[in-house]
């Protein structure tokens, strides 16, 4: 099993989620994060003083999947989250040792 973490633009969340749903992904955990990277934040102005926001709001997806679908998921995210502008985000793949469904106590791929 793998853990796939993807940092994407907030405006792409719905599209990515729908696309993942379409290929049969049943569970995703989503959180809001702030990204610091090549993409630069907005310049805001308060009472004649300009502030450069260094952090850019991003969405983080966490998906646990069986080894066999990992590549497919990466593919789907690449296709839907891409705008070709700086700041599209990253996908990270981490190893995972176990997954347990709290409701049933099931372990392993069946718990996904």
């Amino acid at each position: 099993m793998k853990k796939i973490e993807a940092i994407i633009r907030p405006s792409k969340l719905n599209e990515v989620k729908d696309a993942l749903s379409d290929i049969g992904i049943k569970g995703i955990t989503v959180s809001t994060v702030q990204g610091f990277g090549r993409q630069k934040g907005h310049t805001e102005v308060y009472r004649a003083v300009q502030y450069k926001a260094e952090f850019v709001p991003k969405i983080k997806l966490e998906i646990i999947v069986g080894d066999e679908v990992a590549d497919q998921i990466v593919e789907v995210i690449l296709n839907t989250a891409r705008t070709n502008n700086i700041g599209d985000g990253k996908i990270f793949i981490l190893p995972i040792e176990e997954i347990i469904r709290i409701r049933t106590g099931e372990r392993g791929p069946g718990a996904i």
Binding site: N14, Q34, H42, A48, V49, Q50, K52
Partner: protein, 442 residues
Amino acid sequence: MSTINSGDTAFVLACAALVMIMTPGLALFYGGLVRGKNVLNTIMQCFIMLGIASVIWAFIGYSLAFAPDRFAGLIGDLNYVALKGVGQAPNVTYSSTLPHLVFMIFQAMFAIITPALITGAIVERMKFISFVLFISMWIILVYAPLAHWIWGEGGWIRELGALDFAGGTVVHINSAAAALAAAIFVGRRKGFLKESFHPHNIPMTVIGAGILWFGWFGFNAGSALSANGLAASAFVTTHLAAGSAAISWIFIEKLKTGKPTTLGAASGAIAGLVAITPASGFVGPIAAIVIGTAAGILCYLALSLKFSFKFDDSLDVIAIHGVGGILGAILTGVFASTKINEAGANGLLFGNPFLIVAQGVAVAATIGFSFVISFIILYIIHSFIGLRVGEDEEVSGLDFSQHNETAYLFEGLHESEPEILTSEKEFREESKITFKTSPRNG
């Protein structure tokens, strides 16, 4: 003889203040309903009316609306331009017990909130500069003439005998007709019918509704222009219609979707306030309850219009102010009674079928005139500078794209404040501020 009455003056000045606070109230009402990335732009579109509409009103709008009639009931002359001759003595044409300035500023508050109401139809996508231009022309070309027709001495609809105590046509139907033109012309928000545009802060909206209700006492009772029994009657009808409509809205909502909502109660109250506006000084309290109850139900049902016709009237200006205003104008023709207001007329219920006809004409004229001229103004602005923000700007939100601001910065990242940039030499060494007003830097 005209002598100033201190009670009347105290009353109408207090009412003018009450109508003024309605615009910030509307800013809250609308602001809570949009998404968090557009709340400042929405608030700004209301708030800036306090500046723009006020100045236009002082320079030209008031004169066009309330100076002596110029062309066959169509427009006032330029006698009061830049408030020339509008002073502390009464203008006996409109009120013999109030300083002329009181009448002028009370009317100014109506000229502020009316264009602000329109914004509900175009939030989250219209360029701020285009909005400002639109509204500036609109006050002169639409609002002032209509106010003259209906309220101005010699105005043709007034002469016709149509009744509008506090602005059912001038304010509500008028703004709704312009809102329809604007919603159509500016177009739908990205994602309309596909995404939800979930309100970002409903408590803000409900409090806005509370402030609107509070201010509406000034709006309607103040329209009596005197602290007398008529003002009291308008105050009472206003309150009862608002309350009944809040109830009837959540009642039908419960039938249709299973639960009464807070937003429904607030929306219903506004619908009731809209509907009672033209009638408030002509009908009794029980009629007010009937009008309010009808408004809550009808405006709720009218919410579906925008889906049927697929125009994105984002905050339901047409369903609430349009349909509510028309309902109120027509029911004024039914329930008006000279027992309540001698200066008024009897409606259908009191044996006079003609009033309802006059009301219908007033409604039709208002819709037609407002829609057409609004459309033309929008067309002109569209041709020169465009009406709508770019798609990117819409996605990132109008607060940032139109105003370089972000509404909220909550807990957690407080310490991760963004850096401050500088271009002022003397600061460069020790800080990173860009300060834009410094004369050395200008």
